[in-house]
Amino acid sequence: MTMLTTATATAPGTAGRIVPGAERTLRNRVTVGQAVSDSLAMARRGLIKIRRTPEQLIDVTAQPIIFTLMFTFIFGGAVSGDIQSYLPVIIPGILVQTVITTSAVTGTQLREDMDKGVFDRFRSLPIARVAPLAGALVADTVRYLIATTLTIVMGLLLGWRPGGGVGGVLLAGLLVIVCAWSLSWIFAFFGVIARSASSVQGISFLVLFPLTMVSNALVPVDTMPGWLQGFVNVNPVSHLVTAVRDLASTGSMTGQVGIALASCAVVVAIFAPLAVRSYMKKA
């Protein structure tokens, strides 16, 4: 970036002459440092957008409140005998379900965003190719944070007293946010390749609904038929829910946390390059 920092801040036509192309120091690759700072600049853009359009936060505010109340009172008695003993089961489940569903919205919004002219300019700038996507995804962690906080607060209001204490609950929340961010790369990929925002919504629902429902998020696994248990037990969502339950109720890092984090790393390693490559190809 030497050429830019040495360039004077003169407006066109006043004094400074533009450095001719042949006299500039140029690089043909992006450094990691630049990729990070470009992504952060993009994330800042995403945060301003969220602040400007607070109505887009409806889902992350309403859903945790409504779902927590609804599922606790509908299933509480039937599943665990009473509401109090159901809370340690349901709150981590709702937390995972809500935040992961929220990560799908990222793909939809990215699609809408990409249809705007400003993305043309992003592609013409000497910035890291990953930045426009990564920035949007990083800014969206704010949405996950809101959903996570509200779900936990709702649980506490209903009488949930997690045994893991403050530390355990914070770690649980952090794990959910990290996982949602990782998964959002899948939906970012859908967002990039899809023709319209509504098709992204459609695909995302098809993937997420079975994945979050056919898990241990809302009910114990033992009453399910054996073949279904087989799926539930390999479903990464179940592992995440178990990890969050362990963290929240005991504060201990179990192997489940490791499995969840490793799965996230795999998802990012596959879908981030896919999303960026498709984004670059898209005219």
Partner: protein, 331 residues
Amino acid sequence: MTTTAIEAEGLVKTFGDNRAVDGVDLSVATGSVYGVLGPNGAGKTTTISMLATLLRPDTGTATIFGHDVVREPFVVRQLIGVTGQYASVDETLSATENLMLFCRLNGLKGASATRRTRDLLEEFSLTDAASRPLKNFSGGMRRRLDLAASLIAQPPLLFLDEPTTGLDPRTRAQMWDTIRRLVATGSTVLLTTQYLDEADQLADRIAVIDRGRVVAEGTGDDLKSSVGQQSLQLTLMRPEDATAAADTVQGVLGVTATVSPEARRLTVPVADPARVTELLVHLRTAGIDLDGLSMDKPTLDEVFLTLTGHDAADQAAPDRADSPDLEEVSA
């Protein structure tokens, strides 16, 4: 060291059955303004997109200051600024926030980003509107902000895709001014336009593009002389004078006047405007009274008709089929 700013050879881009760009060659000298003139759908934007690394050419090569657009896109992006046909700034952000974002993306940090943003807002008369939401911006303000964003890195080559389309004449003149000042600082500019007079006013050389091909290339004067420079329109008081008037034109200027069907109007190609006075004197001596006269510059339509044998509006999108009426603007 003299490098050409843009060197393109045989650029082709096909979208389905449509050969949007069909073998375009361009050579643009450093420090010049190059105009790409053509109607809507001629392939101007597609050509710019390939030169600006936004689209990969199907075949052909292009270099920017000697750097290949396909092999060294990242280098090319450090050398160019692109201002699109439709303002490519962020609608949800304010003008300041937009410029700050693009400053950061161009590697300017903290105080220098703030200073550059402030300077550009001032230069483009946007200071008063700096924190207002963009949706209340006029077309001209958007275009100015767009151009300001392209200038943050002070790129030596600037692509302006139809910079004045849809602007009112006053804003258009301001834009022309800005472009001229940019060139004075050493920038090379490639601009596309649908307006012959715009290319004529700003560009050192002009390429006329039609159906994805360059059909003519040269200076504005070259181009205009290919269609007979200017033309003199004479309206006669008495239609019966038409033959005598045409004879006088033939005698004085040595060219054949076209007599309009209703025989009151004569169109005379004029190579040297200074000799028009002489013709008028002769007409008065011959007792031929005039009802009106005007000097008209060739329109894009006339240039097109001459160069391609078909109307410029042929390939225009239905919503923009109006041919630009330019006689007054450059007078």
